[in-house]
Symmetry: C2
């Protein structure tokens, strides 16, 4: 029994930079196919052959475009993490007060785990394996800019909204973990606690998480 996603239709991947041409078109189809299959199976492994069948691509294209299946999954994780960082950039550009910016950010993070519930599983595999080039690329795509934004936000919140002084590196790990584990352990939520993960539950979880984090910093809960 694999858990079913709240919406049976997987979303479309965030697009690449620039228009996809030639082999890039196949590359995109392979990434989208891998995303759809991982989503539909709630993160359970998928084979190269299944990805290629879904993409309508020859299996040789995985090697040509990505070097290997792992290379394809690395590229998928990097695409998703890059997208998360762009959401932070867009949010940052709005110039909101720190509490409101953090509230919107935490809500976006939870909703992204609904759209891409398998991302932390793939990410953790890559971090445990610890291949330096992959770790560094994923860090530049996400961990470093996100931690840097948290550091600025926490400093502003301390100055403008009286937040406690909080270590931005630790904050990075605790906030991501707080948003994510519901999705990793979804089988417990649905099977053991008998709470179906539907839109209503996700929105209640957004409220729960944003309030816990905001109050945890000494900010005012919603």
């Amino acid at each position: 029994m694999a858990a079913h996603p709240p919406d049976p239709t997987p979303s479309v991947l965030p697009p690449p930079d620039g228009e996809a041409l030639g082999a890039e078109v196949t590359r995109e189809k392979l990434l989208q196919a891998a995303h759809e299959l991982l989503y539909e199976r709630a993160g359970e492994p998928v084979t190269v052959s299944e990805i290629c069948t879904r993409a309508g691509a020859n299996v040789a294209m995985v090697k040509y475009c990505f070097g290997s299946k792992d290379g394809l999954l690395d590229a998928l994780v990097e695409r998703l993490l890059t997208q998360l960082t762009r959401e932070i950039d867009r949010l940052d550009a709005l110039g909101l007060p720190p509490g409101e910016a953090l509230r919107r950010h935490v809500a976006e993070m939870v909703r992204n785990y609904v759209r891409f519930p398998y991302v932390n599983r793939l990410l953790n595999e890559r971090l445990v394996r610890g291949e330096p080039d992959t770790v560094d690329r994923l860090s530049r795509a996400y961990a470093e800019p996100t931690r840097a934004w948290y550091a600025r936000l926490l400093a502003e919140g301390h100055r403008d909204e009286g937040w406690r002084e909080v270590d931005p590196t630790f904050f990075f790990f605790t906030v991501i973990g707080a948003c994510e584990f519901l999705f990793s352990a979804r089988t417990w939520l649905e099977r053991s606690f008998a709470e179906p993960m539907d839109q209503e539950l996700v929105e209640r979880f957004v409220t729960h998480t944003t309030e816990l984090v905001l109050a945890g910093l000494g900010g005012r809960p919603a």
Copy 2:
């Protein structure tokens, strides 16, 4: 580059109920060997042959004692989760005020991830695979009693210490995730943020996490 644990010596597993006799002795040696290897490799996969060599056991004993390698890892996860639940029982028996009980519990949880940093990786694999019997056993060993304890604690804290009303199911997922992701993503901590995971860092993280959670409930930070 696999991350190295803070202490290069893996701890001894929590013991089974009762004395190990006959094949139980081999069963214990296999569990301890799997634990040591997973610890030393920071969660990277280990083979049956490596486990048996470390345990000084014939490979046929894995099938005899556990049915399969997966059965061995299921038993290891169940042993560790059962131990976490017993720590909660011991803590609960002290009859501490809810804030102090929660503070000690969160600190214990973080320190358990230092001793068993691979446990959530194995757990998540089992939850994603979703085999009903395994999910139910792990839930009875840990998720159900822990969530039930959180429900009582949150009710007491609301009554005695003015905590906000918080959903115990969501609290279960957010607190575990908040404590855990530092250990899953340790490679980012050490390689990308250049912070070695030593005893000093773990204790700072304990303080960070307990304060964030306590303040998040409306309790007084340390």
